[in-house]
Subunit: 427 residues, 2 copies
């Protein structure tokens, strides 16, 4: 099949998938886990082909590490499959049940979105995770993996296809793999067949996709996160939360990029904070007020807009809570931002006014992820303002539909006054 035919087939499959029983979905995911164990050596040898090619092409160390599969990585994937399999069925949840009239019952019920397009780079384990989440939520998916992981992706995809075929014929065509670079462009143009795009990869990939499709995109390009140290901050908490936010894992989207500090406490807190940052290997860039207090290179306007993803921190002294919030809402990426303060009123204003998917008080920005939030499974992190925001669990792959069951009811009877709506919630 070409890409268009695959998309049409996935769309058609999605209609049936929407009402698959949970035990069948569980069964197919468990079967994938079994086959992963059985075919472990095949997976590793196929991965070896990708690694060999990668070496010959001198890809970067980071990319190479992402590409490598190992027995322990496969065990990790199997463990995550078992976890996804046992999640409660997210489909069929009735959130509203309302009698419009005695014999006319409305239900609002969770259903899969339909067809999800996934574009991911290097990491072949991403294919396993997202495919299992799509199956669990009853969505069809079109997967576009990186060329560099072609053999690994084919091996893993083949396991899903086998598991589906062995479990139930209705899974036919539910997952589709597309491979060539040109397929991306085709996929992005298929808004008739693809309901949601989820890019998994670099900022550049996400931005490219966001700018080149009419299909809704779930994801985030930048993670420019802030910690604001208020004038009433506990100095020890200010330092430890800042250091954790910057240093605990600097390469990820929920790490802090810019520290804001209230002018009243800049002199008392910044020196200890800077010393701790420097001992963690952090390079500091500050505005003039900061550079007057601690040693730092001068920050430019560009620094406030930059996600370093590295041991670099920009620091700015602000005159007030309002100025801090203004900076965050202007330069931030609406991802995750924290205040350190003992002033409850300041914390309340910060929580209410900062336009971030996660607004935090007296804790590290690094907490903002699906596992730590206890979501059960993480589909991704979103800085969208509609549908799903922040760390997104399985609910990001769901929408609802209304079901209305009557006994021959017609609107003319209600328009004429012969009958009246009761609008009684019975759930």
């Amino acid at each position: 099949m070409n890409t268009l035919e695959k998309a049409k087939a996935a769309r058609k499959a999605s209609f049936k998938l929407a009402s698959v029983a949970n035990d069948v979905k569980t069964q197919v995911i468990l079967r994938v886990a079994e086959l992963m164990k059985e075919k472990q050596s095949f997976i590793l040898s196929e991965n070896g082909k990708d690694l060999e090619k990668a070496k010959s092409e001198n890809i970067s160390d980071v990319m190479y590490k992402r590409l490598v599969l190992s027995e322990s990585k496969i065990d990790g994937m199997i463990a995550s499959l078992l976890e996804v399999a046992q999640l409660p069925d997210p489909v069929g949840h009735v959130s509203v049940r309302r009698e419009l009239d005695d014999d006319l019952i409305l239900e609002k019920v969770s259903v899969p979105i339909g067809v999800i397009g996934i574009i991911f780079e290097s990491r072949p384990d991403a294919l396993v995770q997202i495919s299992s989440l799509c199956l669990k939520s009853g969505n069809a998916a079109i997967l576009k993996g990186g060329r560099e992981a072609q053999h690994s992706n084919r091996a893993l995809f083949g396991i899903f296809v086998d598991a589906m075929a062995q479990t139930d014929p209705l899974f036919e065509n539910s997952l589709q793999l597309v491979e060539s670079r040109e397929d991306i462009g085709e996929l992005l143009a298929m808004d008739e067949y693809v309901d949601l795009m989820i890019p998994r990869g670099s900022n550049d990939l996400v931005k490219y996709i966001q700018s080149n499709t009419r299909i809704p995109v779930l994801g985030h390009a930048d993670g420019i996160c802030h910690v604001f140290i208020d004038k009433d901050a506990d100095p020890e908490i200010a330092v430890s939360v800042s250091v954790d936010s910057k240093c605990q894992y600097p390469a990820v989207c929920n790490a802090m990029e810019t520290l804001l500090i209230h002018r009243d406490v800049a002199k008392s807190i910044l020196p200890a904070l800077a010393a701790k940052m420097k001992s963690n290997g952090v390079e500091l860039r500050g505005d003039d007020a900061t550079c007057a207090i601690i040693e730092a290179t001068v920050a430019t306007e560009e620094d406030w807009k930059t996600e370093y993803n590295d041991l670099i921190l920009s620091v700015r002294v602000v005159d007030s809570l309002e100025a801090a919030i203004d900076h965050i809402n202007t330069y931030g990426s609406h991802h995750t931002d924290a205040i350190v303060s003992r002033d409850e009123s300041a914390c309340r204003i910060f929580l209410g006014t900062v336009d971030s998917s996660s607004a935090l008080v007296n804790c590290s920005t690094r907490f903002a992820d699906g596992f730590r939030y206890g979501l059960g499974a993480e589909v991704g992190i979103s800085t969208n303002k509609i549908h799903a925001r922040g760390p997104v669990g399985l609910e990001g792959l769901l929408i609802y539909k209304y079901r209305l069951v009557g006994k021959g009811n017609i609107v003319a009877d209600y328009a004429s006054g012969k009958r009246r709506f009761t609008h009684k919630d019975v759930l």
Copy 2:
């Protein structure tokens, strides 16, 4: 201000609006209602200017009717303002409260989306309705009305501006009016400042907007709704539900456009149904099997894809439930589709497999709207697959944010095993 400045001002205003107390929002909407009454004659005289111009330009009767304001229309607007004012506050609703640890509390709380762009045609009352819904939900809005209603829109918009200024300075810049045709293009390009577009108008307007912006669009272009008469249908219900779906108000999106009927009952039901349709002035277009039973012109492939919005009905005989569902999922607009059947299993399959925002059993498609569903207020009808689907109430103008409040918690403690997540839901 030019359009860009207005958008920036609205964005800035939106941050403050997000945490306005409900009584202040109620107060401003009630003040709008008072001013509407006080300034009734001014509104009518401004509307008169638009009507005069419209007459001189020979606009269509339909457009003219939409443009006309009257005392009773103003009373209607006032009544709807009072209703919106008294709705419960949709903002600040906590849907998840979870202890990540004893001293680290996560909340998922409803918040306004931010800045809503509204593009509407002719009907000046749309400005009043949508502005009040945006205020109630704490959203800023940029309103683009039709040129033909310029004086009416300015008068109504002026009332909102006055009411906001008289109530609380924080409403400054919350609502913006833009007027020229060029402003539409500018507005559609402002994905940095506008979070959601809501078009209110013709199919062509909606399609144009959907095709020309990266901003998410809430709405529907087509409403191609079906009634499927199954082989076990009650013949009387089949006829009355079909007639109501087609004739009760044919010009709207939830009216039926295509009737599907099971081959086994086509001969027994179609003649009575056709007679009833014809006595209601409905023109019938049928496939070959239909034309062999009743008098109808021959339907073309194009008919299955057409929203007539008029007293025209296409009719197709199908061989099975599956064929009916397949037709609906292929040619429909995923809006509202009904089955008439006494077979519970068929109804269950239909409800589960038909990919429509409203799936109905034994009742008229005309029920699918916000008032009849008891939503309290209707923002619009959406055929989107993410965020909001079907008749959309105030919840379509909301998203959520996560709030996490700790006491100095850092991720390093949990990564090292010094502390453990409890993940205990406390709501």
